[in-house]
């Protein structure tokens, strides 16, 4: 089975600061490829990272702040180009592609610093994502041809379905409200809905539970599970909240200073001495 996503030997540094170092990760084949090659005496942002994600798998990426997690996401979606290594999706390399091209290949993400389209309505936010899967040409839109109108209806329905995932919170009259009127938690949900509407195969959530209270966190945990179970996404999650990580993950990898320091089930990683040291015990004890 071909992995959905595979990172091989990924490295990225910024102006002398190595943010990621030789990262390997495979999401998909269920095989974990290690290429441990710690670089001594160098701080790398992403340090020869290997990562692999199986279809329908949920992998969490944890690590203290500055560990290179968001940089990893940015590398995958094409914002940065890696210095070294390869990013492979469904067997082909996506290094060098623009974020838009990568999105069209089936990668969707949310952002750590929420980036909803504030001045557009809730529904429009989600409808935007359908762009890559639609084909109405300008003249068709201008003259509102039957084909264009049909497509518009389909896009609207798609948006409604995705928003319905979140219960009643983003439904009904909320559709026509500008996104800036939403609460913080609702904006996070909106961003997830928007990402879902691109019809991705890989969904990447960057700290989806950030800033949420325990009830909302519980909800998000259930939601992520639902996304995998009902829709079949493979999901890569960056999270700090260990309740969420424990609740959703099939696999967890821990990064510190751009290096993968542990990989395995939640229990394995949570008790890994290196991880505990990196975190100074954050969250790990509470879940017992």
């Amino acid at each position: 089975m071909k992995p959905v996503l595979e990172l091989r030997n990924l490295s990225k540094s910024f102006g002398g600061l190595q943010v990621i170092q030789d990262l390997d990760l495979v999401v998909g084949a269920g095989q974990i490829v290690h290429e441990d090659d710690p670089v001594v005496g160098h701080v790398e942002a992403v340090d020869h990272l290997d990562l692999s994600l199986a279809p329908g798998e949920i992998v969490s990426v944890i690590g203290p702040n500055g560990a290179g997690k968001t940089t990893l996401f940015n590398l995958i979606t094409g914002i940065y180009e890696p210095d070294d290594g390869d990013i492979i999706m469904d067997g082909r390399s996506i290094v060098g592609l623009s974020p838009e091209e990568i999105a069209n290949l089936g990668v969707a993400r949310t952002f750590q610093t929420l980036r909803v389209f504030l001045n557009m309505t809730v529904k429009e936010n989600v409808m935007c994502s359908a762009f890559g899967n639609t084909g109405a040409r300008i003249w068709q839109s201008v003259f509102r041809t039957p084909a264009a109108r049909r497509e518009e209806r389909q896009i609207a329905e798609l948006a409604e379905r995705k928003l319905a995932f979140f219960g009643d919170r983003l439904m009904g009259y909320r559709w026509d409200q500008p996104a800036y009127s939403l609460s913080y938690a609702n904006r996070r949900r909106l961003e997830i809905a928007r990402a879902m509407a691109t019809n991705p195969r890989l969904l990447m959530l960057d700290e989806p539970a950030a800033g949420m209270n325990p009830a909302e966190t519980h909800e998000i945990t259930e939601l992520i599970g639902k996304l995998r179970d009902e829709v079949g996404f493979s999901i890569l999650v960056i999270e700090h909240d260990m309740h969420v990580v424990e609740g959703v993950s099939d696999r967890v990898i821990a990064l510190d200073h751009g290096v993968k320091i542990a990989e395995g089930s939640f229990d394995e990683v949570a008790t890994d001495p290196g991880v505990i040291e990196a975190y100074l015990g954050y969250g790990a004890a509470d879940t017992r």
């Binding site: 968001t70 940015n74 914002i79 952002f111």
Partner: protein
């Protein structure tokens, strides 16, 4: 060779003026991340203020005071006028928009620029005025530089510009207020949290930048004679070019940029044609913006995703 030297002197003279203007653009962009489109009009009003003083003192041929005093007074009047306009601009056209959308200050700036042009049209009409410099300063006086003669006026302009730029650099690097300006350029919020009065710093930046522009206006009057109500527009664009070429936000960059643009214009006028000097200068800007948007000495912007 003689022609080349003459054009070079022209270029350096012109460049000095552009540098003074570019400094204003750069400093304001540094603290506010705003392109002050109306800066050219500030310069234009300075030129007219100088002219006003000249007229009050009897005009170029019948001065009631010694020449050097007249020139000093003209500079002072220009500085005062331009600073006043600049500070007013900041307070009424830009400050209300500090927290607004990105586009708002730009639109306000271009509106203000237009309003000032219209005011000048109202007050001065479309007729140009002339400083009548040959009456003021004997043309023949000057320094010999190889095969050519450099007029006193141009020497005055170049030397003044250099002195001012040195003073400004010293001020920005050595004084407390200067350091505050640099701090605000780096990070406005952090500077505010460190106890710097950001509003005051910004006012000071506009004050100094506009004063320099006013001086530039008088200089142009002295060297080229004619001033008119639209002179700010094109000069402003060229000075902006200079600021960007040198690296917007950088003071040495503004000086370097000014020099380059001045020379480019002089050589173009001398060797190619004066008709298309503007086109070429503008084309230069477009090229620079595309190839190296942060300019020669500027810092590229880093944005956290």
């Amino acid at each position: 060779m003689e022609f080349f030297l003459q054009q070079t002197v022209n270029g350096v003279t012109l460049g000095s003026v552009y540098a003074l203007l570019a400094l204003g653009y750069s400093m304001v962009y540094g603290v506010l991340k705003l392109l002050n489109f109306a800066h050219g009009e500030v310069y234009m009003f300075g030129a007219f203020a100088g002219y006003g003083v000249l007229t009050v003192l009897g005009g170029a041929s019948a001065l009631s005071v010694p020449v050097w005093l007249a020139i000093v007074l003209m500079f002072l009047a220009a500085m005062a006028t331009s600073s006043a306009i600049g500070v007013a601009l900041e307070r009424f056209a830009y400050r209300p928009l500090r927290e607004a959308t990105r586009i708002a200050p730009l639109i306000s700036a271009i509106g203000a620029s237009f309003f000032l042009q219209a005011s000048a049209l109202l007050m001065f009409t479309a007729n140009s005025r002339t400083y009548d410099t040959p009456q003021l300063i004997e043309i023949q006086t000057g320094i010999a530089l190889g095969p050519i003669r450099v007029w006193m006026v141009r020497i005055l302009v170049i030397v003044s510009a250099v002195v001012l730029m040195i003073l400004l650099t010293l001020w920005v690097n050595r004084t407390r207020l200067g350091k505050a300006v640099r701090a605000v350029s780096f990070d406005r919020e952090a500077a505010a949290m460190m106890g710097i009065d950001v509003d005051k710093v910004i006012v000071v930046v506009f004050l100094i930048g506009s004063a320099l522009a006013g001086i530039g206006g008088v200089m142009v009057g002295l060297v080229f004679g004619r001033i008119f109500h639209l002179m700010g527009f094109v000069a402003g664009l060229k000075a902006f070019t200079a600021a960007v070429v040198g690296g917007i936000g950088s003071i040495p960059g503004a000086m370097l940029g000014g020099l380059l643009i001045g020379l480019a214009e002089a050589y173009t006028t001398g060797y190619i044609s004066s008709t298309f000097q503007n086109v070429i200068v503008f084309g230069l800007l477009i090229a620079v913006l595309l190839v190296r948007p942060s300019g020669l000495l500027g810092r590229p912007e880093l944005v956290k995703v």
